[in-house]
């Protein structure tokens, strides 16, 4: 069976929805919402089919596609290399998981948007679907140029989605987002261009092989410089302290359905880039800076946790919590062993699900009470027992309760780092305590205690609102109880990475 077209269809399937939406009148609110939601389904179904394809023991390489795309000669003379950029998509185990995660969160976010977006649905959903193409493309692109194009595609719709449909300071947040990410991608572009110019290819696998060759046409210093540039470019995205302040604004100001995507998927591009390109193309340099990365990870973890501890706005708590949790990714990667890297990847997926769930619940809460300030809330368990229960469970997932996905990733990341740098890891474990402290402070502040007026006559979860909450919770528990759903597809990815590191 020839499956080479599947990935392209998967990535570009939201285009169909964009086309249909373009033809619809602006006022057809209900129909727009339905189309917007339906348009996410093909990608979801194909992503799940690809997962099953893998689970039934078939090869993911079946999906790889590579066709010539852009070609040009070197300008300095005939003997210069013949530059060519191919249109290349492929799925590895890691990418497969991210594509599934993206498709799931996108579909649920579309459902959430139908609830939370109050105006100009047509524009919203068209941009949203464009964003989905960008995200799916980022995780399937097999060469750097294509990756970069998709990467840029994610920026522009996000900018508009924040700037137009966000809360009070939406414009400020949107510009802040654009400046930081724009600078990040400029740095990324420089790295890609230098790599291209030096090696004549942008295919990721080829690059990995070329760079592993000691006779590669790049000096050690240049490699280190490129790696540091990559670390900054993706560090903005992840984000790594002190490049984080833009994402705080986004988390607070963007509409909940966009934050679900942003925190759930877009931040993960940073982690994906660090793993795929940072660790894949520059394993030696990664090793050189491993201690620094571990320290940065612990700083992220603790900095985010301590600041989350004193926030008054629940959204800010979650924003700092994201910074803190991304510290776990860095910690795991810095270990550079199987346990650490697998932990980092697990954390990417796990945090995607957990933060999507938490931000959806915040959206519900804000919609019903017009506030997300902890001091104004309280006693939610009385008025909205089901939502409060899910909020508590999501909080537990976030603080790494065993039986849920967060624990598995946290455990593996620390397991890995304790082997290599026990002292740094030991400092990091303070984060485990602080995470419990700030999450319980915030979640109990909202759900327990005296019932404030905000919750009198407030509706609990109902109808379609259950779908995102239940789906995400089930996935979180599934990974926590049966982590093989993730670790099995990751086996090959992990082996490749370990081979590159030479560990």
């Amino acid at each position: 069976m020839n499956l080479t077209a599947v990935l392209s269809i998967l990535v570009f399937s939201p285009l169909l929805g964009i086309a249909v939406l373009a033809l619809m009148p602006k006022s057809a609110e209900k129909a727009i919402k339905v189309v917007g939601f339906l348009a996410t389904l093909p990608a979801l179904l194909l992503a799940l089919a690809a997962y099953l394809h893998y689970q039934f023991g078939k090869d993911l390489a079946d999906f790889s596609v590579s066709v010539p795309w852009i070609q040009f000669r070197g300008m300095a003379g005939v003997d210069e290399p013949f530059f060519s950029v191919n249109y290349e998509l492929a799925l590895g185990g890691f990418q497969l998981l991210l594509v599934v995660l993206t498709a799931v969160v996108a579909t649920l976010s579309a459902l959430a948007a139908a609830k939370f977006v109050k105006k100009e649905w047509k524009g919203y959903f068209m941009l949203f679907l464009l964003l989905e193409i960008g995200m799916l493309g980022v995780f399937t692109a097999e060469n750097l140029i294509l990756f970069f194009i998709f990467f840029e595609i994610t920026l522009i719709p996000t900018f508009f989605l924040i700037g137009k449909w966000g809360y009070f300071e939406k414009e400020k947040a949107a510009y802040s987002f654009l400046i930081y990410n724009g600078l990040g991608s400029a740095v990324l572009l420089i790295v890609i261009m230098i790599l291209f110019a030096k090696t004549g290819t942008t295919n990721i696998d080829t690059l990995v092989q070329i760079m592993a060759d000691p006779s590669a046409p790049l000096s050690g210093d240049l490699k280190l410089g490129l790696f540091i540039a990559l670390l900054i470019a993706f560090g903005v995205k992840l984000p790594i302290f002190p490049l984080h302040s833009w994402m705080l604004k986004v988390h607070v100001q963007a509409p909940p359905s966009v934050v679900m995507i942003h925190s759930g998927i877009l931040l993960k591009i940073g982690a994906y880039g660090l793993i795929r390109f940072g660790m894949g193309i520059f394993p030696e340099q990664f090793k050189t800076l491993a201690t620094l990365i571990a320290v940065l990870g612990v700083i992220n973890l603790l900095y985010g946790a301590f600041l989350a501890f004193i926030q008054t706005d629940f959204k800010m708590v979650l924003a700092y919590s994201s910074i803190s949790h991304m510290g776990i990714v860095l910690i795991g990667l810095a270990a550079m062993n199987e346990a650490g890297v697998q932990g980092a990847i697990f954390q990417v997926i796990s945090h995607g699900l957990i933060s999507a769930l938490l931000f959806f619940l915040v959206g519900i809460l804000y919609e019903r009470t017009d506030t997300s300030l902890i001091e104004n809330l309280g006693g939610m368990a009385k008025g909205m027992p089901i939502a409060a229960g899910f909020l508590l469970a999501a909080g537990m997932a976030s603080l790494g309760l065993p039986g849920m996905s967060g624990f598995v990733s946290e455990f593996m990341a620390f397991l890995g780092l304790f082997k290599e740098m026990p002292w740094i890891a030991a400092v990091g474990t303070i984060g485990i305590i602080m995470t419990a402290a700030y999450l319980l402070r915030a979640v109990l502040g909202i759900t327990y205690g005296k019932s404030h007026r905000e919750f009198t006559g407030v509706l609990d979860l109902k109808g379609v609102e259950f779908v995102p909450v239940v789906v995400l919770m089930l996935l979180i528990v599934l990974i926590g109880v049966y982590p093989s759903v993730l670790s099995a597809p990751l086996k090959a990815t992990l082996e490749t990475i370990m081979l590159g590191i030479g560990g």
Binding site: A197, P242, S245, E338, Q342, S484
Partner: protein, 623 residues
């Protein structure tokens, strides 16, 4: 039977799931779901226990998580300790389920209560059949959540909210110790499996320093869970939970998990003298420390809570003195008599609607069943000869003496004296003398509350006879049977003098309490007078909470605000810099767009010149 012992924890899990989904519709019928499913666990546990008497340990496992070439497993094990714990946990849980039907009647969130009980029971049963450290840790955290949810059951009360949060965070501090210890041990032994860890320790594959370090780290986890000093402060506050919960979680099962953990890993601890001594010292200190606070408390549940902390310290002392059997034996008898005391206390509270013992008194005549049952529990915990507590406490004292720590032995004796004193103080103040509060509608509790108490009362009397110096040490022999690492830590034959000493201090304590609180021939104000420094210190629990507030909590907050300062000014400054540069460039760029063709031409020419120069210098692309 044993090969299907994994079913035992699943029954309560099923109860949890059913009640979570359908509790609202089942209303108070929820209790039957919970009771029947825990009964299933109990029956199965008894069958497994009996089978384990005659058959060897059963263990099975499967791959749970693969990391590269490492296979982390999950599974279950039925050894002597596990089988005994399964029985204790499922029994107490079943009785508490039954009791709660009466106690929680009319509560709006009745089904939720039963759901949480199911979750907790599942986790606790899962904990005691885990064959490896990782799985233990997983269930260890889950019992913590069960406890957290039940402490905070009356979520609208600010005290309950604070207590639940405190319990979770304090125990998590301990858990991090366990977490680190477990991981370090893994890299030393390449395994989480108990059997492989013990084998590696036995073979000398782990250095002495690492054994001591990991053992003490793991013990920190036990300190948190079992309310040992200095992480004990959450346990008395946990009394904010409904009383049946206090009986189940904060007396009989979860708080004993720390003791269980040390017992389950005993071969590791036994390999380090330092680790054992640490445990013994912490245990003995906690025993006397908590007992002294218990002397002056006026809340019936808090007296029992401090008594629990103290008794857990006793068990730790036993294990730290290499008295494996003594520790486990006392864990079992304590589970029975302390659960009995809590349930009886619940029955009292149910009757008089107050927890303050100053407002009770004279209840002996009104609570005809609860009174005698409470007395049985009090006699048992005080170590009066013939009851279960007497035998297990004696075993501990012997272990402490044989362990070669005369000071710890004396501390244990002093704690035994205090225990007898404050327990009878409690008994006399609640049941004898004149009624001091409003007791118009006092009535005995319904049958579903009294029957569980009666059963526990019987056990509180007879459970000690499974291991006595008089009629044979069946339990002790069985517990260490076939286990090389435990052979030398079985029952120890002690001098009869120890038994006599224990009896004397216990009776002395009771007599003193009698003189002060029943006969009132001794003035009680030397201990309960106001203005007395010692009394003030004791009622304020040595100001440990205040100390933590002023140090750890204040530091955390201060540090957070310091970081916020950095976030706002330093990182914020960076942001301003970045946006400033971008804006500046933008402004400069827009000034270039002047419409002057000459400017454009000049810029284009200069740019071309620069490119040519670069090209000439480098000879092509970046090299």
């Amino acid at each position: 039977m044993m090969e299907n012992a994994w079913l035992i924890p699943l029954f309560p899990l099923l109860s949890f799931l059913i009640l979570l989904l359908f509790g609202k519709r089942l209303k108070e019928a929820s209790s039957y779901v919970g009771i029947l499913l825990t009964l299933a666990s109990l029956v199965y546990s008894i069958l497994v226990l009996f089978e384990r008497f005659s058959e060897p340990t059963f263990i099975t496992k499967f791959d749970w998580l693969t990391i590269g070439d490492m296979h982390l497993t999950a599974g279950f094990e039925v050894n002597q300790l596990n089988a005994l714990m399964l029985f204790i946990v499922s029994l107490v849980s079943f009785l508490v389920h039954t009791y709660s039907k009466g106690y929680m009647q009319g509560d709006e969130r009745f089904p939720v209560f039963y759901a949480y009980l199911g979750l907790f029971t599942f986790a606790m049963l899962g904990l005691v059949i885990s064959p490896n450290l990782l799985q233990t840790y997983i269930f260890w955290e889950l019992v913590g959540v069960g406890s957290f949810l039940l402490i905070g059951f009356y979520f609208y009360k600010d005290e309950a909210k604070a207590a639940a949060k405190k319990a979770f965070i304090m125990t998590r501090i301990g858990d991090v110790g366990l977490f680190i210890g477990m991981i370090l041990l893994f890299w030393e032994t390449k395994s989480f499996e108990y059997s492989e860890i013990f084998a590696a320790v036995d073979a000398g594959a782990v250095s002495g320093t690492m054994i001591t370090l990991t053992a003490i780290l793991i013990f920190i986890g036990a300190v948190g869970k079992s309310g040992q000093f200095p992480l004990h402060t959450w346990l008395p506050d946990a009394m904010e939970g409904p009383t049946p919960v206090s009986a189940l979680i904060h007396a009989a099962t979860m708080v004993a998990a720390g003791v269980y953990l040390v017992a389950a890993l005993f071969p590791l601890f036994a390999a380090s003298k330092t680790a054992l001594l640490t445990i013994a010292v912490i245990g003995a200190f906690t025993a006397i420390f908590a007992a002294s606070i218990g002397l002056v408390q006026t809340d019936i549940k808090r007296v029992l809570a401090y008594s629990t902390v103290s008794q857990l310290g006793y068990m730790m002392l036993a294990l730290g003195s290499a008295g494996y059997v003594a520790g486990v034996f006392h864990l079992m008898t304590h589970a029975f008599f302390k659960a009995l005391l809590f349930l009886a206390a619940g029955s009292v509270i149910h009757a008089v609607h107050t927890q303050n013992i100053e407002e009770m008194g004279g209840l002996w005549k009104k609570l005809k069943l609860t009174g005698p049952l409470f007395l049985i529990g009090t006699l048992a915990i005080s170590g009066v000869p013939g009851l279960s507590g007497f035998f297990s406490k004696d075993e501990i004292l012997v272990a402490a003496w044989e362990g070669g720590h005369p000071i710890l032995f004396l501390l244990a004796l002093a704690a035994a004296f205090m225990t007898a004193f404050y327990m009878f103080r409690l008994f006399f103040m609640v049941f004898t003398g004149e009624a001091r509060g409003n007791q118009q509608h006092v009535h005995e509790s319904p049958a579903n509350m009294t029957y569980p108490m009666i059963l526990l009362g019987v056990l509180a009397i007879v459970a000690g006879y499974v291991n006595t110096p008089w009629f044979g040490t069946f339990l002790g022999d069985w517990l260490v049977d076939g286990n090389k690492a435990l052979e030398h830590h079985g029952h120890a034959e002690g001098s009869p003098l120890i038994m006599i000493a224990a009896t004397v201090v216990s009776l002395a304590g009771i007599y003193l309490a009698y003189l002060m609180y029943s006969k009132r021939s001794l003035k009680r104000n030397w201990l309960s007078g106001t203005g007395d420094t010692l009394h003030t210190i004791l009622t304020n629990k040595y100001y440990v909470d205040e100390f933590y507030q002023m140090t750890v909590v204040a530091f955390t907050k201060g540090f957070s605000y310091f970081l916020r300062f950095i976030d706002v000014f330093l990182v914020g400054g960076l942001v301003k810099g970045v946006t400033g540069i971008v804006q500046g460039l933008g402004a400069a760029g827009s000034r270039l767009q002047s419409g002057q063709v000459q400017t454009y031409g000049a810029v284009a020419f200069i740019g071309l010149a620069v490119l040519v120069v670069i090209f000439a210098l480098t000879g092509g692309y970046l090299r």
